[in-house]
């Protein structure tokens, strides 16, 4: 018996035992997808937030338009637009040598999630940077630090602590949202569960999936709490 069949065996659920391995693989797909998107999205968001605050006027407008549009439309719609819609321009992608990317549902989902979470994280980071007192900026500049050095050494470290909690929430939102990739033929945790239900008509498999998501989100929440306490320990006694 494989290790992934044990949980089902232990709780005495035949369907969970039969589809345990598929669900474990699905959980890994969910994990991979969210981690890749949120990590790449974070670096994009840093660039976007800084551009939004300090860039030239046209770039500020462009970034603001980007974030407003992606935050104002459903992720499901964005995913379908990328997965089905971009596939329509197959010749173009083949000419530019990007067809291998937009052909795969996983890459399409990762792409959509990355640009989506980048928009949300950019707004979080912008808010955090704006909450750093102005005096910090002025103090650093008067010490002769360059604008970029000020941003990198003085403002961003303080902003990151403020952004920590909302970023954790964004991570949780992404994990939950990732369930929709099962609708573009990807077998993530939700996809594996849908398959198990379609074949067994046993509703309890959805409840087990809910439990797995719940545990996943709860673990992240707890870890994030610890992380926050650890990273802000120099401010604890204020």
């Amino acid at each position: 018996m494989n290790w992934c069949e044990y949980p089902g065996y232990l709780v005495g659920s035949e369907v969970l035992q039969n589809y345990g391995c598929r669900m474990a693989n699905g959980l890994w797909v969910t994990f991979e997808l969210v981690m890749i998107s949120v990590a790449i999205g974070f670096f994009l968001a840093l660039g976007l937030a800084v551009t939004r605050l300090y860039g030239p006027r046209w770039a500020r407008m462009a970034v603001s338009g980007y974030t407003t549009f992606l935050r104002g439309t459903p992720l499901l719609c964005q995913l379908f637009l990328v997965y089905y819609g971009f596939g329509q321009f197959r010749e173009f992608w083949q000419d530019t040598g990007l067809w291998w990317f937009f052909r795969e549902p996983f890459y399409c989902a990762a792409f959509t999630f990355t640009i989506n979470t980048a928009a949300y994280q950019a707004e979080i980071l912008r808010g955090a940077i704006q909450s750093v007192p102005r005096g910090q900026f002025e103090g650093a500049l008067s010490l002769g630090l360059h604008r970029w050095a000020t941003l990198r050494l003085v403002v961003l470290p303080q902003a990151m602590i403020l952004a920590l909690r909302p970023l954790g929430n964004e991570l949780i939102v992404m994990i939950k949202s990732s369930a929709i990739v099962s609708l573009v033929t990807l077998f993530d945790l939700m996809g594996a569960t849908r398959l198990a239900f379609a074949r067994s008509f046993d509703l309890s498999i959805y409840l087990y999936a809910a439990l797995i998501y719940l545990v996943l989100v709860e673990i992240i929440r707890r870890v994030w709490d610890k992380l926050e306490i650890r990273l802000s320990r120099h401010m604890a006694l204020r």
């Binding site: 329509q88 809910a210 998501y213």
Partner: protein, 236 residues
Amino acid sequence: MFDKFALLGFGAGGWGWALLQGAANTISVALATLPFGLALGLVIALLKRSDHAIPRALATIYTTVFRGVPELLTLYIIYFGIQVLMQQVWTGFSIPPFVAGMVALGLVLAAFSSEVWVGALNSIQKGQREAAAALGLSKAQAFRLVVFPQLIRVALPGLGNNWMVLLKETSLISVITLQDIMFIATRANVVTKEPFLFFGTAMLLYFFFSVISAWGIDRLEQRTNRGQAAFGGATR
């Protein structure tokens, strides 16, 4: 190139009317969910501030569960769950997707909005209730006449966010065949093989509703804050 846009028209072979019908369904399901979710959220919030441990624990479990489980999964569990349960007493029962979607998203909205309500309830000083009690108001009267009007002002920005999230989440109900914007766009894609056009249009429709909502919420906030001197005045 431009003849493609005829597919969005209102004539024969055009999907204009269908998309408008879908937009109407999206808005109605969101509007139907809102009062149910917000009212349940307020009840959960009051339970969270209860003096007894059991209602507090129940409320916490409720929010943990519905905030932690993906909305799509909640939707499936409610849709298939109610179906299976009801079919044991009434064979051939099928739950309308509108109702299933409303219940599922309402339960989720209640969990998220309860956090907003708790925050707002905490911002109202104890003295307000005590003064109301001193004036001889009952607990229910004090809540309705004194606490609630102040609550709305503080809670509005958070509830506005909840509404924006809800509006976008309604797109999920299309997977259980509610004929909303997403459903129509998907069907149009199957028939015409023009996914970019239709999902692009769907996206613009959702964006239009988001912009209108943001504007509406802003107006509401201004209205509820009109008695506050600090708003737009001294502090800025």
